[in-house]
């Protein structure tokens, strides 16, 4: 019975008008462009992938048609360099930064969204302007501040300084993002909770935080990824290879003649990129929504 229903001749069921020849050529060109760009993206990444596994590559990555599968660059990375230490350092720095940022920002975002207090608009404007100044601007001071503090408290390491700098840099913009998000949550919920006797803090803890959780996740994620991406401050502030983050550490594999090993860099870069890429693909939607809603919409 089912078979009889099936019509050999395909019926045109789409509600779009059928394509003209011109349209068909257009679609074809579109595909060509799209695939060309896919190629443009994949090719360099693929080169990195190949170089990382190519046993024939020596210290420098050269144009080389020989390929021999080998994991010796990875072995080099783990045995000859401090790659694992760098991973550990980066994770610690990124994790602490994310937690600190989250704690500080979640309060300021809530306060700025829900309260009209003295100095609110002025400080908001100040925050907006301060965040445009590159963090790098204060680099001379960071050095000296660190040496002053560490002379008094020897436990105060350069990594801690870095964490504080990352956190300080993240407060302004993230406060804005979170404020924008909480603004979109109706205040009726707060009022209802307050009538039922919730304190300010409880309103935040029980009402706002669960609703703002997606945005808080994004903020935490962004501030977690930040130290993975940043090269400049880590390179400048951290001095010993033992304390490097991934970015600063991998850079030594490309520039320093003593430790130069480009395929190992490719291997390390690959290992670093893969988890982050997976994270990005999995959380694509949330990350993007975080970007757009954080903007000051025109």
């Amino acid at each position: 019975m089912m078979k009889r229903k099936e019509n050999k001749e395909k019926l045109y069921l789409s509600d779009k008008p059928p394509l003209t020849l011109f349209g068909k050529i257009g679609i074809f060109i579109t595909y060509v462009i799209l695939f060309a760009w896919v190629y443009a993206i994949i090719w360099p990444l693929f080169q990195m992938f190949v170089s990382a596994f190519n046993g024939k590559q020596q210290q420098y990555i050269m144009a080389n048609s020989n390929f021999e599968f080998s994991i010796r660059h990875f072995q080099y990375l783990f045995t000859e360099t401090l790659y694992l230490t760098w991973v550990k350092n980066t994770l610690i720095i990124a994790g602490t930064t994310a937690i600190l940022t989250l704690i500080v920002v979640s309060f300021t975002g809530y306060a700025y969204s829900r309260y009209r207090f003295k100095g609110r608009n002025a400080s908001l404007m100040a925050i907006l302007l301060i965040q445009t100044i590159p963090t790098f601007a204060g680099i001379t001071a960071y050095f000296t501040m660190h040496s002053i503090v560490s002379a008094i408290i020897p436990q105060f390491s350069r990594q801690m300084m870095l964490i504080l700098i990352y956190t300080g840099g993240a407060i302004a913009s993230n406060t804005f993002i979170l404020k924008g998000y909480i603004d979109s949550v109706s205040t009726e919920l707060d009022d209802a909770a307050k009538i039922d006797g919730c304190s300010n803090f409880n309103v935040y803890r029980l009402i706002i935080m669960p609703i703002a959780r997606p945005m808080l996740t994004i903020i935490a994620l962004w501030s977690f990824i930040g130290p993975f991406m940043d090269y400049l401050l880590a390179k400048v502030l951290l001095t010993s290879p033992q304390s490097y983050t991934l970015a600063a550490g991998l850079y030594t594999l490309v520039t320093d003649f003593r430790t130069m090993n480009q395929p190992a860099f490719a291997a390390g870069g690959l290992l670093t990129a893969v988890p982050i890429v997976i994270l990005f693909i999995a959380l694509q939607k949330q990350l993007v929504s975080g970007l757009t809603s954080g903007s000051v919409k025109g």
């Binding site: 799209l34 360099p44 306060a111 608009n121 302007l129 002053i148 302004a172 870069g269 993007v288 757009t292």
Partner: protein, 699 residues
Amino acid sequence: MGKYSVFLYDNIGNTYERKNKYLLELALLDEKIKSEKDNVIKQKLKKERREVKRNKGNHSYIISLRDYEKKEKEFLNELKRSKKVYIKELKEDKTNRKLIGLKTRLFESEKKLTFYKEYIDLSYDAEFEYRKANLDSIHLPKIIEFFVEGQKELNIALNEKEELKNLDEKDFKNDFKKFKVSQKEIFKNEKLRIKKLRKEGLISKKAEENGIKELKKKYENALEIKKRESKKFANKEFIKTKKYELKKDLKTMTKVLEADISDFRRKTPVEIEKTIPYYSYLTILIPGLGQGLNKQYMKMFLFFIATLFIYLVAIPYALGYGNYQGQGIAGLINLAEGGLRIHKSIIFLIEGIVAVFLSIIAVVMLIISFIDAHKVEKNVIKGIRPSNWFETRMTISEDGFPYVVSLPALLIIVFIVLVPIMTTFLLSFTNMDPQHQSKFTWIGITNYKMIIMGEGLAGRVFWLILGWTVIWTLAATTLAILIGFVLALLVNNERIKGKKFFRTIYLLPWAVPAFITIMFFSIMLAPRGVLTEIINNIVGMKIEIKNDPTLTRIALILMQGWLGSSYIFILTTGVLQAIPGDLYEAADMDGATAWDKIRRITVPLVLFQTAPLLVTQYTFNFNNFSAIFLFNGGGPFDPIKYGNLAGSSDILISYIYKLTMDNQYQAIGAAITMFISLGLMLFTFIGFKNSKQFKEGRL
């Protein structure tokens, strides 16, 4: 000489009659004097007023007031003694500590009730004490009863627990196991039924999921209920809830009592002889003292912490004590000039800035304290009773909440962001360069002059670099925006299949950490690198991209186009998907071509939504240190044109890096930094001023 008003006011604006007959007499005279036009009578009245004042001690009201005060003192002393005895008795009975507190309070209130009742009409203070005691005596018995009852039940339960300790609930356990098995059976059967329904296509996937979730909850609930048949478990649960109840309800009940009391406080004015606030002025330098004189002792305590900060931290630090090396604010001026060899100007500078910030905080504290003390003092003269700690605490948690929770952010911003920026700002007015690393001095705006005139070793190339920075910013960002936008448009075409595939691939340049891709591009474009070889094959001759300024610049722009397009693509895709389809349908009906639709609908909508983010893309590339520095280190170098400090692809931020980090021209680097920062701030400010949000005041 201050004047008295006939009535007293509370903070809601209600008026009250004066109870102090002496002050009332003065107030009435004051009123008469004011309304009297005849000068002779006025003088006479004034004289009369002076007379009344002089005979204050003999005034009948004052005499009775003195009498009351004396008696009150005696009464309070007596109360103190009897309270001690009472507490001792309670302690001997081994009463719960909380209960002791409640009971003594009740004991006190009963005594007070009888004492103050006689003086209600004499003074508002007495009336307030009476009402407070009255409330206590109404509320406290209930609270105590509640507490005692709860404690009793809890004790019974606890005893039961002891008895149950050795009980082996074998029967129950078996029973429970059987019950669990049977419930699980039911759960499984139901689940199968739902899955079958789904297979037959009668319900949606969502319904299936929800159905299974519901079943699971049902199953868990059934087990939870059954669990309570166990005596042990029920007992445990009971103890838990009872303890929680005792704690929470007790708190609520006391809160209600406190709230009732403060209600009376608001409605009971206060009466004093003073007419001009003065001690808030006298105590302005010692936060807390004024609060103490206002009889707000907890507040006083809090403000004393501020006093400690001001006199033990801020002022000594500003004067140079407790500095690491510097001399507080003075160090800001002399910059360690003529100091010891190990003294560094930069440390003096930073400690000076920290001292200034601490001083600002101290001044703000003084002002807050003064405003608070002054307000309360002024209100007392008007008749408003100062709020008690319970109310102050409420105010802090209500109005003070945003300040309290923003405090950590403020501290971090001040010390991690503002202090360094101020340092850089001030540094730009000094001569910190390779010759003056340890000691430097103020040289005014010379650095700025050098930059603008294009003079000096470091300033010479400034305009050259600025030019390339602007070209770079515009070209790289615009390229990225164009690529990203066009790709998003193409992929969003409804006839294109494999959208998910394209979107995932196009995400990659953004997802892979930029420093990795930049370094790898750098490797591929190095002499004998993969890309170099390919390009050489195409062109047919040997070219070295990284040694040619123009080619390096082109490569940089293309690379940033590759890197940045991804972000724009994702952003635009998000906006495109949100554009309602009927807009296009309407356009179709009106005979619009595809190009018309893009030009008139898509582009304006996307631009409108993403404009602020596109602007940040430009500022981002303006400061895109990684791309420039990691690709070719700012090179290739061209000493004839650029000198030794910069390469031909350096932008301002990487130039600053080289100035400050590699060549120790910190001062001129700071000046350029300030130059950039001011430009960017202005840029942002203008953009923000024009935004809709700001104009509508919905900040």
